[in-house]
């Protein structure tokens, strides 16, 4: 009597598992795909190694003058290193850098609880950040009170100016955008058409012309003798421009709220503003946070245009450094540096917005 021993399982074909299997199913599944893969690998071979060697391997990192870079075949990061303070803080007096650091440090500290799940009063904190924090930041930047020396806006610049412009654009455009979005959904024909015309006008013109208008033509529109700061004028232009985009984002959120919510609010006898403020907007705004982050990213990139009206944002101040006779010919390093800063900011924000979108989506998927 023989015991039945099952024949041991054959191992899967060697081409279907492990590295080879992966390669086969992901890179060489058909002749066309094989050709494409080989072509892509060749492209990578052509571009990646020289780039890495320029950026890292052969680059010059140490030194504090042009001479340090004389022999190197790669990038001259000394150029960026020497001017890094200017790129970050603009023409801000060196002794006052702590004020900018404090302002942005404060923002980070304030924003941390927003990411902690168990923290309860997120809404209140968000309102604090949107309303009180800008005032504190303005005091820190501009000075003049509390024993801080006054720093004129013409000395603001660099990355801090870029952040300020984008931040002001968002904070100022949010309330206006909400009003416009409500107006566009209003039943009153005149309110509705005014909102539509306003929104479509600002969305239809390029930011360059808006900036130009606000920087040089705005004083012509105002009564004689009124005059205000160039930076402020640029901010007004950006805020108006941005509010149209913000309105469209908020409108998307309003449209996503089920009709029952509107009806329920009405049934409770709430007035229009109460039903909006207490029922609809809190839900709608939560829904559109990813959209707001996306508009912020777009605005953050668009702030580079202020260089055309003579404000020194990050890109403008880097370009201005190219003109320094001591550092001629290092513009590629400057551009790469600017690009990587913008990229890091935008990429991380877009990732954040995506994760938010996923998180918020689960509850509302129908």
């Amino acid at each position: 009597m023989s015991v039945h021993t099952p024949h041991p399982d054959m191992p899967p074909p060697i081409l279907n598992v492990g590295v080879l299997g992966w390669l086969r199913s992901n890179l060489f599944s058909s002749p066309l795909h094989s050709a494409l893969s080989l072509f892509a690998i060749y492209l990578l071979y052509l571009t990646v190694p020289p780039m890495i060697s320029w950026v890292f391997l052969e680059a010059t990192w140490v030194g504090d003058s042009r001479e340090a870079c004389a022999g190197g075949g790669g990038a001259c990061w000394v150029f960026v290193k020497v001017r890094i303070n200017q790129f970050m803080y603009g023409f801000f007096p060196e002794s006052e850098y702590w004020r900018i650091n404090l302002a942005f440090g404060l923002l980070i500290v304030l924003a941390i609880p927003l990411f902690i799940k168990r923290f309860q009063s997120k809404g209140k904190l968000a309102i604090f950040i949107l309303v009180v924090y800008p005032i504190i930041t303005f005091q820190l930047f501009s000075g003049g009170n509390f024993g801080l020396t006054h720093v004129e806006t013409s000395r603001w610049g660099g990355l801090s100016l870029t952040l300020i412009l984008a931040g002001v654009g968002i904070v100022a455009s949010l309330p206006l955008g909400i009003v416009l979005a409500l107006g566009r959904r209003s039943k009153m024909p005149i309110v509705k058409s005014v909102s539509v015309v306003f929104i479509e006008f600002w969305r239809g013109v390029p930011l360059i012309t808006v900036l130009f208008m606000s920087s040089v033509m705005l004083p012509l529109f105002l009564p004689e003798g009124t005059n205000f700061d160039k930076l402020l004028r640029a901010m007004i232009g950006i805020a108006l421009f941005q509010s149209a985009y913000m309105a469209e984002v908020v409108r998307g959120g309003l449209a996503a709220i089920p009709k029952g919510q509107y009806e329920a609010a009405e049934a409770l006898g709430l007035s229009y503003w109460k039903s909006m403020g207490l029922i609809i907007l809190p839900q709608a705004l939560k829904l559109v946070i990813p959209g707001i982050v996306n508009t912020f990213i777009a605005l953050f990139k668009d702030t580079t245009l202020v260089l055309i009206i003579g404000l020194f944002d990050l890109l403008a101040i880097i370009q201005q450094a190219f003109a320094d006779p001591d550092w001629l010919g290092y513009s590629i390093e400057g551009y790469v540096f600017a690009a990587s800063i913008f990229w890091v900011f935008c990429f991380s924000m877009s990732r954040y917005s995506m994760s938010l979108e996923k998180k918020l989506h689960t509850g509302h998927a129908r």
Partner: protein, 396 residues
């Protein structure tokens, strides 16, 4: 009688100012008055300020001689033409770069969007890297990068790279022969038109036949044959009524032929690569929005992957893609105004730049420029809305 009415007391009529209709009317009138007053004040202020400072007003300047040259013009232009003409020149250049940019960005976007969903690991990774890198860097930076990156390595006019003795590439641009139409060429154009009409008719007939009998017909090959063959035949029969104006090296530059200037090339590359990332994302989300069951059903019906994509997936995905595509087209058109940074003579660079500065009439010039962009934006959205309506799924 009196007893019957007790308890069913008529609701008290609200005071006049509490009635919703009255309030809404009042509020709207207030809004109109506010806006009217605001507009009037601004208008008055501007008029007053301009008179005060002796700034000339009106559109008379459009008829005076411009007196400056422009790098690239699609219509005849030299210093003796008017400021009004500079407006046209700039407008045409803007339209040129915007329409070419829209075409290239769409092609790049569709290829990259589909690639990102490819089963080929390295291709989908590359597409992802492309999208994530280029959409997170400001466009202005990209334009400057491409301009100087394209310009630096190119040789001077005397050391041009020559392809096939007809194409010349140097740091002044890409020079190509330009066609000169001779007598009888119009017949070729007529033949082309006839061929296009015929192709459309064939396509209709084929479609009808397929609906009726199920027999497919290779419309594409027939159409290509018609559109290429008929004009070619006419062309040869007329004895090749076309000659070429070849670019020749002169003392400084190439003369004759057509030229693609590096400013245009850099702007186009930057605009289409940047906008392409957004279109790729739109395409990807559109395809993902089509439920997988559709693909499986198509496969179950025996459709091969190609027709599945073409006949089942894309038409449904387009409904999601089109609205996003519209806003990207609008963005591209508005972004083309960044041309001013690298000296491509678009509307903002020529008209809102040089002309504004030579005449000093900022209000008129900026108003005209804004009106043009508004008109372009409106027409793009109208067209895309119409197209979107046409392809909307008709729900029964």
């Amino acid at each position: 009688m009196a007893d019957e009415q007790r308890g069913v007391s008529e609701p008290a009529k609200p005071a006049l100012w509490r009635r919703p209709a009255v309030r809404s009317l009042f509020f709207q009138l207030l809004l109109i008055a506010g806006i009217g007053f605001f507009g009037y004040t601004i208008f008055q202020n501007t008029l007053h300020n301009m008179q005060q400072r002796g700034i000339s007003t009106g559109f008379g300047f459009l008829n005076s001689e411009a007196g400056f040259g422009i790098l690239m013009t699609l219509i005849p232009f030299d210093e003796t033409y008017t400021y009004g003409r500079t407006f046209l020149v700039g407008l045409l250049n803007t339209l040129l770069v915007a329409s070419l940019g829209i075409i290239f960005a769409t092609i790049i976007g569709f290829i990259m969007g589909v690639s990102r969903l490819s089963r080929n690991w390295i291709i989908s990774r590359l597409a992802t890297v492309y999208i994530e890198v280029f959409r997170n860097i400001p466009l202005l930076l990209q334009i400057m990068f491409w301009y100087f990156a394209v310009l630096r390595p190119l040789p001077g006019p005397r050391q041009s790279m020559i392809f096939n003795d007809t194409l010349f590439l140097n740091n002044r641009g890409l020079y190509m022969p330009s066609p000169i139409y001779e007598q009888g060429f119009w017949l070729v154009v007529v033949a082309l038109l006839v061929a296009i009409v015929a192709a459309v008719l064939v396509a209709r007939w084929a479609h009808k036949r397929q609906e009726a009998t199920g027999q497919p017909f290779h419309t594409v090959y027939a159409a290509i044959g018609l559109v290429l063959g008929l004009p070619l035949l006419t062309f040869l029969m007329m004895g090749s009524p076309l000659s070429w104006d070849m670019p020749v090296l002169q003392r400084f530059n190439m003369g004759g032929g057509m030229v693609v200037i590096p400013e245009l090339a850099a702007l186009l590359v930057a605009l289409s690569i940047y906008t392409g990332t957004f279109i790729a994302e739109a395409v990807r989300s559109g395809i993902l929005a089509v439920s997988h069951g559709q693909t499986e059903a198509a496969h179950a019906l025996g459709l091969r992957p190609g027709p599945t994509l073409r006949l089942v997936i894309i038409p449904q995905a387009l409904r999601v893609i089109i609205p996003q595509l519209t806003s990207q087209y609008l963005n591209l058109t508005k972004n083309s105004s960044l041309a001013t940074a690298i000296g491509y003579p678009d509307l903002v660079a020529v008209f809102a730049g040089t002309t504004l500065n030579q005449t000093g009439q900022a209000v008129e010039v900026i108003a005209m420029t804004m009106a043009v962009y508004l008109a372009i934006s409106l027409s793009i959205s109208l067209f895309m809305n119409w197209y979107n309506k046409r392809i909307q799924l008709v729900e029964r």
